[in-house]
Symmetry: C2
Subunit: 290 residues, 2 copies
């Protein structure tokens, strides 16, 4: 396999451990990638067919009894680029094999049930690549910023860890990516949404309220990331000031995760020679009346 400019597996280069320090995290860095933007985009394009083939193999396995699947969990503040990931990374493979789900603030009905219930309903089916734009982690982040106590928050973290452990044991690979944009870059991206009439629909005055709580969010993000980065479902925190880097890193992480699933084409569950003989009878003939 050609490594392109990846000197290190992005899943290793960006992995969160219990000492992860978000304050020291460079949001314009390109960890693991040694070349520039053009090379990253070219490498991604060059790998797209391979990614697509792996996805088809996963899908084929799902159609023939395997439970294997992948869930990509994408988190990040407004403008960090979660939508762009969905578009540019997931857009590389057959849309029939991708299940996208964007989570909003829970509805009254969702509030009345355990917080993981709506997550469970949206999990990818066998053979699929699921993509969560926001996720179960909103149920730690938003309450955490709005005053939930540390103990209760830690309890939610444990519930999520247990939930993810069960999922992984049930042959679902989990790839958790948290896009981290800098305060300055977020400001510039919000300004663009205000300056361009074709971007107004992406802006909400609420975005500025959330921006006003920057440090609270950073602090809760650090807690959440530390508590829920497990061996079986670690977090990658991704510098997101360069959109090209974030996309290249997630694309590569997804490709490598699929490679490690060691997928093969499913065996036929019918007698190929027999079916071939049956079909052959019809090949040079006119269709029969039936």
């Amino acid at each position: 396999m050609k490594l392109g400019g990846w000197q290190q597996d992005p899943r290793t280069a960006l992995r969160v451990d219990e000492h992860f320090d978000l304050a020291a995290f460079d949001r314009s860095g390109t960890p693991g990638w040694t070349l520039g933007r053009k090379a990253a985009e070219a490498f991604m394009e060059q790998r797209a067919q391979h990614l697509s083939d792996l996805q088809e193999q996963l899908f084929a396995n799902g159609k023939t009894g395997s439970r294997k699947r992948i869930l990509v969990v994408a988190q990040g503040l407004d403008t960090a680029g979660k939508g762009g990931l969905a578009r540019h990374v997931m857009g590389q493979v057959d849309p029939q094999g991708v299940a996208l789900k964007a989570f909003k603030a829970p509805t009254p009905e969702e509030r009345a049930e355990p917080f993981l219930a709506r997550i469970e309903r949206a999990l990818p089916k066998p053979g699929m690549i699921g993509f969560f734009d926001r996720s179960q982690y909103e149920d730690m982040l938003v309450p955490g910023v709005n005053g939930m106590g540390a103990e209760e928050l830690a309890e939610r973290g444990r519930m999520i860890n247990d939930f993810e452990k069960q999922l992984v044991d049930d042959e679902c690979v989990i790839l958790k990516v948290c896009l981290m944009v800098s305060y300055g870059e977020q400001g510039r991206r919000l300004l663009e949404r205000l300056d361009r009439p074709d971007k107004h629909w992406k802006f909400s005055p609420h975005d500025l309220e959330v921006r006003g709580q920057w440090f609270k969010y950073q602090s809760v993000y650090q807690e959440v990331l530390r508590q829920t980065s497990t061996d079986y479902a670690p977090w990658m925190v991704i510098p997101a000031d360069h959109k090209w880097y974030a996309r290249a890193a997630v694309s590569e992480a997804l490709t490598r995760s699929l490679e490690e699933m060691e997928l093969t084409w499913p065996e036929a569950d019918f007698n190929v020679a027999e079916e071939r003989a049956r079909l052959a009878l019809t090949l040079d003939a006119e269709p029969t009346l039936s």
Copy 2:
């Protein structure tokens, strides 16, 4: 707008009326398209950004209160290329704006409810492009081939027509495409699935049973197409021996249908200048403690 090789709108060139004669239909034709394969693929690629922009506009409208949406209904016999349409036409736009649904034979639970119930649950939400791989029409085709009486079949046709009328009145554009492959080409495609181990998962011995009922299917297809091609939701029957043509025709039909929706970017529902001023205060500053 450049027309490329489209001398006629494919929606017009391929439209079914009550006299539609499926026996006389050339499955290797390219109605409306005057050039060859390379030109068709190049034209599609050249139009992809425009299609993608229109889709984004539809999506933006959906986020801001409009009910507008599009439903693409894809029918066709095995190997006709429905999956390829999903991949190559729908794959041109942001996956976040596309809702794909593949219908299988109804489950026992689905059989116990009105046949349109599962269809209703899968309809695209405002702003989305829905794609049905098989659809409500399976509930005419399969029973029609297996002995349902003409009267009962016609009644189902009327129910579907009423259902689609309500949908169109509720601002859902419906684009119905029926891919028609020839008997010979279907045979070759099935053979490829048997000859290539990476295609075995796409084959089922049942496909040969269905192939054995070729004329029954053709006959019921003709009935169904005639009865359910309405002014508000006409059928396009698409020659599918050339995959490139089928994809180009559906892509162009979708693009033109989106153009006719006369979409505009939604107006901001906030005071842009005020928000700009609020944001400006934060642009050169450090984030504030909150």
